[in-house]
Symmetry: C2
Subunit: 330 residues, 2 copies
């Protein structure tokens, strides 16, 4: 009996190592580092890996093979660690498995996002072990969750950075805002039984619409009418946010204007009373028109994709939706 017990302990240890390896590979080479480094930190903090082992042995118990269940095994451990990270925040815990908890080692925001992302990665990993062919809806959906988490992480990074390039900003809103609109269109198209080309076209529509939508958001912050807007005008400037307008203005500005703009970064925002002054700078530098131009360009790109849609009513509705978003005043 003692030998048999030992045999299982050896089996457990062997499979545990394979799971460790799978978990490492799931998280490796992913960006942003500010998100995946804390994910790896919690995942590498040890633990019995009880849950993955249960998956493997349960698969075997039904005549299945370990090799078909490693992803699912890693997924439950990722899910488990998602709950640990968030629970530690709620419990205000200092230590976990003898190490400093995620929110204490990093900060609250990082820990919330780390947990969220682990959950999404869990789904993503699980899906690799699902045998059905048309699991693509869920894969698309999951990819969306991950991109949103990643985009939010970039956004938080940018808050504390002095320099953010326009390309970086566009990458961020592409993930934080546009990815989810793409997911919406793609999921709808897939459920609607669309061809590959149709799904791709609608995805592209959603993606470009998302970018136009966010740029419009940036623009409205400074050009909207207070009564219609529902938020304070120039709120982004007050909070020192590096929007498309701000980054572009900083690129173009010289002399006094540049000094003024750099003050926003230095002071992490401006007073409400200064908003008019900064609107004038934006006007002078032509960034309002430029942003309008970009919104129009992305909208055109979006609408172009809709040519693939034969159904006139559906195309009309999507065109209308796109135009309503671009012409909104709040």
């Amino acid at each position: 009996m003692k030998v048999l017990q030992n045999e299982f302990a050896v089996l457990y240890e062997k499979q545990r190592l394979k799971i460790e390896d799978k978990i490492s590979r799931v998280l490796i080479n992913r960006k942003p580092e500010s998100l995946y480094e804390p994910c790896s930190y919690i995942m590498q903090s040890g633990g019995k890996r009880l849950r993955p082992l249960l998956v493997l042995f349960s698969a075997r118990a039904c005549g299945g093979e370990f090799k078909n269940a490693y992803n699912a095994a890693a997924a439950v451990e990722l899910l488990h660690n998602f709950t640990l990270v968030h629970d530690d925040i709620m419990d205000n815990a200092d230590k976990r498995r003898g190490r400093v908890t995620t929110h204490k080692k990093y900060d609250l925001s990082t820990a919330i996002l780390t947990g969220d992302n682990l959950l999404a990665v869990a789904y993503l990993t699980l899906l690799k072990d699902c045998r059905e062919n048309d699991k693509s809806v869920l894969a698309t959906f999951t990819q969306g969750v991950i991109e949103v988490c990643e985009g939010q992480s970039l956004d938080k990074d940018f808050e504390v950075r002095k320099n953010v390039s326009l390309a970086e900003y566009l990458e961020m809103i592409n993930k934080k805002t546009a990815a989810l609109l793409e997911v919406c269109c793609s999921v709808g198209a897939q459920i609607g039984g669309g061809s590959k080309d149709k799904i791709k076209a609608l995805s592209l529509f959603g993606r470009n619409l998302g970018i136009a939508f966010q740029l419009q958001d940036d623009l409205l912050d400074i050009t909207a009418k207070e009564a219609e807007f529902g938020k304070i005008i120039g709120g982004d400037l007050v909070e020192g946010k590096k929007t498309f307008l701000f980054i572009r203005a900083l690129e173009k500005a010289r002399g006094k204007d540049k000094t003024k703009l750099l003050e926003v970064i230095k002071n992490k925002g401006i007073q409400k009373s200064q908003v008019g002054e900064y609107r004038d700078i934006y006007h002078r530098l032509g960034v309002l028109e430029e942003t309008e131009g970009e919104i129009a360009r992305y909208t055109r790109l979006a609408l172009k994709s809709l040519k693939a849609v034969e159904d006139e009513k559906a195309r009309g509705a999507l065109e209308w939706l796109a135009n309503s978003l671009i012409n909104r005043n709040k």
Copy 2:
């Protein structure tokens, strides 16, 4: 053209109302209220419902019908609101759509959980619109995420409640701990191609093992050896946690012992130096033996389910795993 525009606006509004209805129904009659009330709060705060409409129109754009995509439509809005709740925490935002943000109206923990749960409900809702038959792996997985969130919510509730019954406590650990172990076994069994009966048997194994596992956790907190345990002994008492041992002791105690136990609730914990005194009370009342008895009972129940497993090696491994957990010292 004006008429056509209006036609789409009417279509949008009609479908928007259907989506509102779907979202309400997704969240209705779910418990605990402390979790679903804030979920409804954020979901009922308005918004354009742009994302669900994109799902519907994209489905139509591919020749699909609206009626096959309402769940998916609600799912993307749930997902979106998950991100809003968490983002508002990270941004320390006061207002959202003109209303107080979730973490300001409730508290940080509630807002984190609300977001997490909305994500899980999103998956759950999405799955209703997936047409494949064997989507059950993902459904199982998602159900697990939800139960974990719900269990954590109950746990937080219990922290501030004076009275928690043994039945309530068991319900809580059933969700917070046991559900995920059930998911592990069920997912593994499904991937392994198990029969319905086999999947059910392994699920039950995981569920009962999970309860035994948590009761063992409660017991070890007071009976473990400091050097092996890695945590301080009696930590649950120090933090004033209402564990199985504590609740059962309170049920049985009379006189001085009862007064002492009530002090733990009143003072929200005890001093480290008092742990020995409380261990003596547990001894006197026989709750340590009683907990051991419950652990053995749930373990037996778990092991009984394994009779359905023919493969000797797999059954042996699962039995070994169960016994290792029950005989662990940390």
